[in-house]
Symmetry: C2
Subunit: 274 residues, 2 copies
Amino acid sequence: MGWDRRLVIAFHFHAGRRHLGGGMVQVTMTALEGVPLVREGDDLAGLLIAALERGGTGLEDRDVLVVAQKVVSKAEGRVVDLADVTPSERAETLASETDKDPRQVELVLAEAEEVVRHKPGVIVVAHRLGHVMANAGIDRSNVEGGERVLLLPVDPDASAAGLKARLDAHFGVGAGVIVADSVGRAWRLGTVGLALGAAGLPALMDRRGAPDLFGRPLEATLTGFADGIAAAATLLMGEGDEGRPAVLVRGLDWQGEALPAAALLRPKAEDMFR
Amino acid sequence: MGWDRRLVIAFHFHAGRRHLGGGMVQVTMTALEGVPLVREGDDLAGLLIAALERGGTGLEDRDVLVVAQKVVSKAEGRVVDLADVTPSERAETLASETDKDPRQVELVLAEAEEVVRHKPGVIVVAHRLGHVMANAGIDRSNVEGGERVLLLPVDPDASAAGLKARLDAHFGVGAGVIVADSVGRAWRLGTVGLALGAAGLPALMDRRGAPDLFGRPLEATLTGFADGIAAAATLLMGEGDEGRPAVLVRGLDWQGEALPAAALLRPKAEDMFR
């Protein structure tokens, strides 16, 4: 993934540093209202800037703006009309084994490095981006036209970095941006938000060496910081007709180098489940 | 798990209903400060009530209080001194294969229904509670005395319900309570918060049938609501010397029946990874 593991060594993290009068720590999440329906070629950064200004929050240093993958993909033109897809023989076979549309399976295979598991209704793949997820994150809902589906952004970390650059320049701050998707889990029901892309914050934080309350080193000290933020913000987004594709998270803080969401991927050599 | 799947059918969910002047939706998370170190037999509900009153937030209808599993386990006396543990032959074998303390492995096996995978440093089990997790959630950090470890609560959903009953009665409200732990993931690095126990809210929410922006039914509409809230609150807890074991989440809303965290467990028959 081009990410240098050495970067994550030896910084400390203190989450949620907004200290109130009573010594409390507070984080506020605000869903941006009035973001219009996004279409291919739209200036998503411009739409987000307008919504932040209209909502009155603006954007401050260390704010994190979490943006739904769907609107990022739409703005980047990642919509595919299934009528334009010709399934391969492999896709036809897998589609019949999984009771899925062969054209959609063709797209799943095209987006995947590896099929990890499959059963009727679901194909778990290692996406070319490295994320292990159902159906390669391809989504049919909230795409205009019943035969259209939405692929993940080509490079969600780059999408996040691009949005961050625009937001930072406009507001004169250093913010974090996360591109979030809702995903299923192997052993649990229900979706949770997860970071596909991140910029301006350590997506993976290494707290190795931070002492616990009794002064011993912590055992499990790698924190999926961007995934936690994505899960939090997704609570406000909804997935249906709410139309709230961006959430501003204010009050978090962090130390250390920024790392992209690619840093969250477990190397295949350490993977016990594929 | 005794949970009736039919309960989750056909209710709608609208997250984060705090509508501000500009039509925005806002959720606030506040870490409770000044919760003292918890020890076996402590009145955890009383300590949380005192912290809520001292912090000035009180507790309102539909507030969700997220409490770290560690302090629940401590209050419930789930501390084990490794000096009192005699490893079985099976534990000795697995310990040598995983480079772990045989006494700790003995406890992992005692807490597990099934060993799912193992390699040096980690044993992934299906916990007797149903959660698939590393090392059965047994934790050595933040337990006084280097030879002591902490098991998960006997019944975290019951722990959450017990705390909820005390909090509701004291403040005269209907709140949600989540018992949260930080866990690793199969395909991703870093821990995220997850709900081991829940009361007063739908831990799993079924939005099947809620229309999307274009009126079609949503495809993936089961939401891991309590897991998302746990992931969010865990951002503020830290795991080291912060000593912030409880986070108040205000501004979420939900409809439908309350469901415990047990509802989040994927039935083994549907599990593709064990």
